[in-house]
């Protein structure tokens, strides 16, 4: 549960960093919309996680009071925004995965999770469509936009392996009908990405490097800076209400 919540939260934070910096006003509005959807999903998931882990923690305790090693988001979502192509490719790779995941979780034995997934599925459908349209425009736009988009794809592709990994806790959750088997989401993801890459005249990267560790709290160096910026005000006033 916390993995999903952290994925949504961290990507929301990254997208919100675009505010007042997007290439057009329409995109400023769109990126913030997606960030707000993801933030809403994260908040519902943290609330549910607090009931499940029995701590009764608030959403703010999860976000502002945990340290880097306690966050279990995947490495893909914490990657920095880079240029617009990097942000769009990250969005494409993640939202396509998230759409399959939400689709599967609508059938979860955990009724709350199923409800959150059903609502998220509608939102993520739009995120996927936004990312696909831009991937095609940029991939099949100008020579410069093509190079930038291919470069972004090459840089981010290795981080997609982690999305489909299983670990010790996954099999029992899958067996109980709560979670979706990550590897089972791979074929549809791969096919969906394949069609958009073809339309965008982009090459699917070949790579053997498959960085991992986010689910165990092993993050990239830049992630610490993101948390430092995000958490400092909340932590500077212990116990204060905002």
């Amino acid at each position: 549960m916390l993995r999903l919540a952290d994925d949504c939260f961290v990507l929301s934070h990254r997208l919100a960093e675009w505010s007042s910096r997007a290439p057009t006003l329409e995109e400023d509005v769109a990126l913030t919309n997606i960030a707000l959807d993801l933030l809403g999903q994260a908040r519902r998931l943290y609330e549910h996680a607090a009931r499940l882990d029995g701590t009764g923690r608030s959403e703010d305790e999860y976000v502002f009071m945990r340290d880097e090693r306690d966050f279990v988001n995947c490495l893909l979502v914490e990657q920095e925004n880079g240029d617009f192509a990097t942000t769009i490719v990250r969005e494409l790779l993640f939202s396509t995965y998230q759409l399959g995941l939400c689709g599967a979780l609508r059938e979860s034995a955990d009724a709350t999770l199923a409800a959150v997934a059903a609502k998220a599925h509608t939102e993520v459908t739009y995120h996927v469509s936004h990312a696909r349209q831009w991937t095609v425009r940029l991939g099949d736009g100008t020579a410069e936009s093509h190079i930038r988009t291919q470069t972004a794809l090459d840089a981010l592709w290795p981080y997609t392996h982690e999305l489909f990994e299983s670990d010790d806790v996954t099999p029992s959750l899958v067996a109980d009908g709560v979670a979706a088997a990550p590897a089972a989401l791979m074929p549809e993801w791969s096919a969906s990405i394949g069609t958009v890459l073809a339309e965008a005249t982009l090459e699917r990267p070949e790579t053997t490097w498959a960085p991992s560790g986010g689910r165990r709290g092993l993050h990239t160096e830049r992630f610490g800076y993101m948390l430092a910026e995000m958490q400092h005000l909340h932590r500077a006033h212990p116990g204060a209400r905002w």
């Binding site: 919100a16 007042s20 997007a22 006003l25 617009f84 400092h232 909340h234």
Partner: protein
């Protein structure tokens, strides 16, 4: 119809308090005045995203973060409606943005002040948006139809913004002593610049008289300023915060609050370009615009290819 007849018809519409629409004849000066005012208003919404956006990544709770993101997004939306309203007068958004980036069109000088603490987000909502609403409510009855209609929606959203600012400061003012001090400091810094948002005193305002005759503007700068002070003083009392003007007191005879004189030299300095953040705000906007150029070019190139393919297939 000859020029004189067109002008008579225009004046008759204004006198009857009707709306002038894009297809109607209008004097060149009326058009120029509206382009200047609407584009300056649009630019203010866009530049205004920066000071508050400065706190999105540091908002101290998820609830506040979501509210702030939505608010800054609303401002981008207001900028969009307003650029569209300006486009009905025969100018393009791209050329207006170029004029802004070249320093040839202005935006509200209030956004040339920095947001130094979280409480500044509240002070902007309460005071700056409060002053903006005071200015904009009469604009919903402005003689130019597209501008008046854009203002209806903008004012609804601005009134949410003002309430969220008030509520943010209310929480701080009743929070820890450090939070209370943060709120008071923000109000100390934002009060006078907000009072000056209504522009120079009536005697020095160059555009007011003509704009009022054309019913673009309904009230003078000083009338609106008084209205803002009258609205805000009781709210400050509810917040438990002090406005930094010892001359504020109720005047029974006038039925209004008296208040002190603004530092008009400061306003002139900031408008002339020497406020704390003028250079920073414009540089940020120019940089984002330049960094986005290749994206806009790619979208245009893709659309051309797509159109060519579609017409070849037809």
């Amino acid at each position: 119809m000859d020029g004189a007849a067109l002008e008579r018809e225009f004046k008759a519409l204004i006198e009857a308090d009707s709306r002038i629409e894009p297809r109607d004849w209008m004097p060149d000066e009326y058009r120029k005045t509206l382009v200047r005012q609407i584009s300056q208003h649009a630019h203010s919404e866009i530049i205004g995203m920066q000071p508050e956006g400065n706190w999105i990544t540091r908002a101290p709770s998820l609830r506040r973060k979501a509210i702030l993101m939505a608010k800054v997004q609303d401002e981008a939306g207001h900028g969009l409606y307003l650029y569209c309203a300006a486009e009905t007068l025969g100018v393009e958004r791209a050329e207006l943005i170029d004029l802004l980036n070249a320093g040839k069109q202005k935006y509200s000088s209030i956004f040339n002040y920095p947001t130094l603490t979280w409480a500044d987000v509240g002070a902007i909502g309460w005071l700056v948006d409060g002053a903006a609403i005071t200015n904009q409510i009469p604009l919903t009855r402005c003689s130019y139809g597209p501008y008046a209609r854009a203002m209806v929606r903008v004012c609804k959203e601005e009134s949410f913004h003002q309430r969220q600012g008030f509520e943010l400061l209310y929480a701080l003012s009743r929070g820890t002593p450090e939070q209370h001090a943060m709120a008071q400091d923000a109000v100390d810094r934002w009060w006078w610049p907000s009072v000056m948002m209504f522009g120079p005193p009536d005697g020095e305002s160059v555009h007011t008289e003509q704009s009022m005759a054309w019913r673009i503007k309904r009230f003078s700068n000083d009338e609106l300023r008084q209205r803002f002070v009258d609205m805000t003083v009781p709210q400050a009392e509810m917040l438990g915060l002090t406005l930094p003007d010892p001359q504020i007191r109720w005047n029974e005879d006038r039925g209004h609050y008296d208040f002190g004189e603004c530092d008009w030299d400061e306003l002139r300095r900031v408008i002339a370009g020497d406020g704390p953040c003028n250079r920073q705000r414009l540089a940020h906007h120019v940089q984002a615009h330049e960094e986005g150029a290749w994206v806009r070019e790619a979208a245009a190139a893709h659309a051309r290819k797509h159109a060519a393919t579609a017409s070849a297939a037809a």
